[in-house]
Symmetry: D2
Subunit: 341 residues, 4 copies
């Protein structure tokens, strides 16, 4: 089959032929890929940022955001059958550790992360586990929902954690209205009545955000921290969801919170530099966020099916993977780029 393979850091991956995966364990599932999202994390992988944490053996197939159809199942799989349309939670889990038994899939002590730790889903087929599969209505087109598998679940997870803080009268700032952010805005709109302020460098992204539920938008032009302060009566926001968190956005994001406010880190790449006095004197919080739980992905699919979250995507054939990665890097993708094998 064709697959998008990384042979070395700081160089473009290569689309090439590799053997198809097959089922061996009783809970294994092979999925025929219908859509594979292209994520900023793929750029970070290519830059080597994830090498220390994940240590994949090169070359390997990238891609961690997938939907498709069940192609083959292990002997003990009961929740899906061959032919089912499925979206895949990004991290197959053991089901037996403390975190799994608490529903905290993303903290499974035995979890793997296809596309980061080993072969992922920018390919025709992907080997995953029954525990990663969420069955969808057969009418669903995988390419239409694939971006929910990672961008979606991550944005939804952060928003859902913030819901108790976002009662009517509060203000939530969303930094970055790209692949994750444009989903985050819709989740905020579906789950809260907070006032949504979106910050982005790109005026087109802000236009999209407005259509999706933003109450106010701010161009990130250097004066945006002050602009946010002005919009919040000089106080700052109750919650800042930072989908960028690099190139200085991370410290600006913390600054935009109000006393007792919370700064949610979702993007990455930068370094926080914050005096502990600033953390304690107004009792603010910095909250880490990674992909969400299996149930959260299922909840997000309910929102998607109800039309409350819609994806803005641009599709590419699998063989155009490198072009899609370059477009993303150049800021030329509104919403999410999706490879269709």
């Amino acid at each position: 089959m064709r697959a998008v393979r990384l042979h070395g850091y700081h160089q473009d991956p290569v689309v090439e032929e590799v053997p198809e995966p097959t089922v061996s364990g009783p809970l294994d599932v092979v999925v025929k890929i219908g859509g594979a999202g292209v994520c900023r994390t793929d750029l970070h992988i290519i830059e080597g940022q994830w090498d220390a944490a994940m240590g994949p053996a090169l070359p390997y197939t990238i891609g961690h955001e997938n939907a498709g159809w069940v192609h083959e199942v292990g002997s003990a799989v009961t929740n899906v059958a061959v032919g089912d349309t499925v979206i895949l939670h990004p991290t197959p889990t053991c089901g037996l550790c403390r975190a799994c038994r608490a529903g905290q899939d993303m903290h499974c002590s035995e979890s793997s992360f296809p596309g980061l730790s080993h072969d992922g889903g920018m390919a025709e087929y992907l080997l995953t586990s029954a525990r990663a599969c969420i069955k969808l209505d057969s009418s669903t087109k995988p390419e239409d929902v694939a971006a929910l598998a990672d961008a979606g679940i991550t944005a939804y997870h952060a928003v859902r954690k913030a819901v108790p803080l976002l009662y009517p009268g509060t203000i939530c700032v969303v930094v970055g209205a790209g692949g994750l952010g444009h989903i985050g805005v819709q989740c905020l709109s579906a789950l809260t009545a907070t006032r949504i302020v979106v910050v982005d460098r790109n005026p087109d992204a802000l236009k999209l955000a407005e259509q999706l539920g933003a109450d106010e938008t701010v161009v990130a032009d250097g004066a945006h921290v002050d602009a946010v302060k002005d919009l919040t009566g000089g106080e700052g926001a109750d919650v800042v969801l930072d989908f960028v968190a690099e190139q200085g956005a991370e410290n600006e994001g913390f600054t935009m919170t109000r006393p007792a406010g919370s700064y949610y880190v979702i993007g990455y790449g930068g370094e926080l530099r914050i005096p502990t006095l600033d953390v304690i004197s107004t009792e603010r919080n910095i909250v880490g966020n990674i992909v969400g739980t299996y149930n959260e992905l299922a909840e997000l699919m309910v929102l998607a099916q109800a039309g409350k979250v819609t994806l803005h995507t641009k599709t590419y054939p699998l063989d155009a993977a490198v072009e899609a990665l370059h477009d993303l890097d150049a800021g030329n993708v509104r919403g999410r780029a999706i490879l269709v094998p």
Copy 2:
């Protein structure tokens, strides 16, 4: 009356005569001080660290940790009467803002902080508000409990916020077993069944911590981060309560947390420097903490009255305030120094 007055930053305060405060507003209360705690924050005040945030007009009376007896009350005061023994919440509040109406006293939009923003309680008398007064049993000696008014409430507040994270089988690291930390250990012991690991430079402080409920102690000798990792099966702690948060302890503290763990900043003076990748890849949290709520101080008094929290104090006459400050700075105080006017 005699009072401990700061005339300039980076110099010792002076014990001198000033006029006694009197009641003017309907909710005003004047308290005759029975005990005034000496806090590391007083050292930070003298260093000028709080000038930007609080901007007190010099000279002024420091001291923000007080208990005593009600001396005079305004016309609308109903919760205490002249002669009552009281402990004082450190921040008199307006009672009408959103934060007050939510019980979040420390986030009152109109709050003042006697001893930081204006005249405090290292003096014979202190002007405060009915809303700051908690009535105690008349047999209570103010000097025995004064340290609960700030050190106590701050430690208790942080512990109480962490309780939901500290179910049986978890590990909580306490960094710093001094004025606040030695109370924090007792609060953890009273409110949770977590395994308590205490880290401090001073072996005497660790001995005290063991008597108060620490399950393990670690000397902060440079190898302590590794020692904590070893004690936690290589994983790190579920919660780290950092009562130091300066001189590098702050970044060590974050490092000691496990995936999905939480780092509570309580001390201050240092600067956090943390890559956003480290915050998101394992979804960790940094939680700010300041003095707690009025109700939390009341709860802590219940623990104290039940003998579940006991203070280790060293008393000084009011005129020896500078000596007490110097002793604290030199690390020569086990538990808390208390001035008795």
Copy 3:
């Protein structure tokens, strides 16, 4: 001034002349009434249901749902001034007890309930406290928002408590789409993405509910418990909000919940009869609800101002109070009846 006075249980109240109230305490506020809601509780008061709990001295002025303009203030009032448009939290509170200090206004140990325990607001003027006043935009017409002061806050409070249970994919049944229920449906729609099923005897009430956000409606015609089971895949609802809770609705409401579900009692008048085996075998909850907190009323005003909660009201002159009560009793009021003095 004119006031609606109850002289005896089981008889119509009388509209008659009484002296105007005046300010005496420092936090007292006299409000000129612009709108006074007529509530099913007023019918229950007339039936004597609240006599044991509240024990008002007859005759007294009923009415516990008010908005208007500040007419006179006590010496220590700082949050409102004469002329301000205000909506009134139904229970003036002491501000000093544990419940008040926790923001739980409805559990104030010293609270009074004008209109239930003593003179209320079906009158030209009402004596209340600064702590009950929420300042509104001067363009707001009190008669347009008065129903939020009790019907609104009660519905909002119950919904807000249920929000954590109502993630996407859940089902919430609303029993009763009258004065409270029609607000509850809008609050659910604003704060959650749950599927909303509304049950009522009256087809017109169901039509209104559909316009306000109900996803499904069920006529309470005797087959409604089965109809709800069918709509929920035979399982029952995650949450049932029962705005009726009398005449058998209370036991039907509990029956409509699914395993691990929660039954919220908001209406009253009936008697629950439930085997403890049914409570434990599927671990279900029965949750009491009374008027909400001051902050919740403020939050609701934000929703109202944003147009997310709109009231359906029918106005009557104050002198037509008895007619309004009769209309309510006869089921002839869609939404809420409002007296305008």
Copy 4:
């Protein structure tokens, strides 16, 4: 093997020979029983109370509270191995439904309940699932801990849910200091600083409760509701944990709560009869409780290993099962009766 079999309701079970269970599915585990607890639910089963809910085919083996040693494992079992000492969560679960994926084992949509729905563990061997097994230190004697598998987890689960309500200064009433209650008292003592008041008919049970952490005890002699009111300043308890909930205790239990208080139903057999007015006027809650989660059982084992929860048991040989059941029914068991095959 020998097993305790129920052939008909309202008659004693019979100890007789049956075939040993064997592994068939990949996650199956056969456990050699080391201890099987005797529970009031076994009496209720014999009375037919669970027939409608569970519908077991008679005859079948009762017993739902077990610990022992792994005897045989299916092909996909990775968390335990033959020879391991284990305690068993009472309900083997599917691991794939919404509830399982949220860690809510007791709400698994595919769960079975050995001993209630089919063959249980009053026998030499029991067939269960890998998902039910918690590995223990090899030095643990199963008969010493078996009672934690159901009595323990149920008491712990209720206490853990109540922890957020039981801050210092609160009062928790425990009704019934038998098999579950005597564990509940210890869990309260380990996890909270609440004041513990224990109510029981039996003075010996109260003596045991005092040794285990009760602050006050009240003989259930008819005047106990008033006695509890007196002990709580006339207000009632913040939380009542009712381990009886039959023969009138259920309505007394609700009555013992204070305004805004919560009544936890754990025992069963009676019928609640409560006016909805009493539920809403003071906003009280009725909280159902069933066996807890897998993780909660693991947490409880931590408390047991730390000596914070100790069991009071009386052992019987398996062949004396009927005698043990009769002793329990007659109130002649302090703590828990355990069958040792």
